[in-house]
């Protein structure tokens, strides 16, 4: 077995509680309730173990991480351990007072999500009236605290045409970076796929707008653009490979190589409640299951891209082809690619209504 490199980043999903109800949320359909969340003590131990294991960055996310009262203390703990901490937030709970305290505790960066560039459509997609305005004020507070700001825009057929305006909004709010990421179809997003998957034409226009803005704004605004893999020819390198860089700890303490992995059947995911992060990373069956290339079958096994995209996404292979060990169906070399083409066909029709993310709305 080749040596296992230490993880780069810990995704600390502190809670599933969130005031928003985005229909593409990457949280599982079965949301964890507050009573099932790890304690403050547990998280402090996880952070210390992560730093010792070689983790360099921690991403505090959720749900809405600001729903946790101990967030400030956890940011301070991470900073004390030399971890570079990022806050991934919807910006709808709290404002300047909280942000100033986070900055003083050593927070390094804030990633703030918007659902669109207008309050009207943004609030409709988020299922929360007044959310957009609160986010704008939150962005101002982040800048006033001297923290670097990244805007996160999840795009799909119901907001994609606004990409140029989203970039303008990022400039107006003083962001140095904007992440324009197409919805990835897991969990709630898969449930809402027909309402979210863009048409080919929409996508091409947005991509063109991004490329033009990138050239114009070099050195002013960094634009990270994640294309929707359904429209591609080869899959994304999911999480840069299973168990290669990321360790994700869910609110319950379950550790997974990616946030969607818990849905994979036949894998017992370990918990930080009874295993150390080091054991989980190096020795758990779950993290070794799809590590490297040994698990691959054809066409990945002999493909020259096998260490570039690592066979694509295991969760997508399971969700679309029924087997996590198959080639990601998004790849045109996959024998299951027809299911992706069928979904793209469906996208050319009229979109159905959203199923909003709620506790127990899933079924």
């Amino acid at each position: 077995m080749p040596t296992i490199d230490p993880p780069l980043a810990l995704l600390a999903e502190l809670t599933h509680r969130c005031p928003l109800a985005c229909p593409y949320c990457s949280n599982p359909l079965n949301l964890e309730r507050a009573a099932g969340e790890l304690s403050d003590q547990d998280w402090r131990r996880v952070l210390a173990e992560a730093a010792a294991l070689g983790v360099l960055q921690v991403h505090f996310s959720g749900g809405e991480p600001m729903a946790r009262r101990d967030l400030l203390a956890l940011i301070g703990a991470a900073n004390g351990l030399g971890l570079y901490s990022n806050l991934i937030t919807s910006g709808t709970l709290g404002g300047a007072r909280e942000i100033d305290a986070f900055a003083a505790a050593g927070l390094k960066h804030v990633q703030l999500s918007f659902q669109d560039f207008t309050a009207e459509n943004g609030d409709r997609i988020a299922g929360l009236a007044g959310g957009h305005d609160r986010k704008q004020r939150f962005a101002e507070a982040v800048r006033a605290a001297g923290l670097p700001l990244t805007l996160n825009m999840v795009v799909h057929r119901q907001n994609l045409d606004g990409v140029p305006d989203m970039i303008e909004m990022a400039l107006e709010l003083g962001a140095r970076r904007i992440e324009i990421a197409h919805v990835q179809y897991y969990a709630w997003a898969l449930r809402n796929r027909a309402a979210l998957l863009p048409t080919r034409r929409q996508l091409d226009q947005a991509t063109e707008a991004v490329e033009a803005a990138r050239a114009r704004l070099k050195g002013v605004l960094t634009i990270d653009y994640v294309v929707p893999d359904y429209h591609g020819v080869r899959p994304k390198s999911c999480m840069s490979g299973w168990g290669r860089q990321f360790i994700n700890v869910m609110p319950s303490g379950t550790a997974v190589p990616c946030h969607a992995a818990e849905t994979l059947p036949g894998i017992a995911f370990p918990s930080v409640r009874n295993s150390s992060l080091s054991d989980i990373w190096h020795r758990s069956d779950a993290f070794n299951r799809f590590r490297g290339t040994d698990w691959m079958a054809e066409p990945c096994r002999s493909c020259e891209r096998r260490e570039i995209d690592w066979g694509g996404c295991r969760c997508q292979a399971f969700l679309l082809a029924g087997d996590a060990g198959r080639t990601d169906p998004v790849c045109t070399l996959s024998p299951d690619h027809g299911v992706v083409e069928a979904a793209l066909q469906e996208a050319e029709g009229a979109p159905p209504a959203f199923v909003y993310r709620r506790f127990s709305a899933a079924r």
């Binding site: 360099l56 570079y84 390094k108 990244t150 070099k218 050195g219």
Partner: protein, 98 residues
């Protein structure tokens, strides 16, 4: 905001919230930036160690030229400026008085 253009007379420092440090686990220098990790090569590390918010780009070049006396100063100046401009474009470096 405009793009920061690195020249001979620039004085640079790390942007706030950029961390340039030695990582004991990996035994190498790293740059930590928002949601991103950069692994500068040996040459870049030597240059970045001289970025302190006081030393100008031309003084950095001088000090490297003195250390590696087989390379022509022009060539070193070009490499240094290119590397620093790239990091400035990524938001890692800023003018010291910004």
């Amino acid at each position: 905001m405009d793009r920061f253009v690195v020249s001979d007379s620039s004085v640079l420092s790390f942007a706030p919230h950029i961390v340039f440090r030695f990582d004991e686990v990996r035994q190498r220098w790293i740059i930590l930036a928002p949601e991103r990790l950069m692994l500068p090569d040996e040459q870049a590390v030597e240059i970045l160690k001289l970025v302190d918010g006081k030393t100008g780009v031309s003084a950095i070049v001088d000090s490297l030229a003195a250390r590696y006396d087989q390379a022509p100063r022009d060539l070193i100046a070009k490499d240094v400026t290119t590397m620093l401009q790239d990091l400035a474009d990524k938001g890692c470096l800023a003018g010291a008085d910004d």
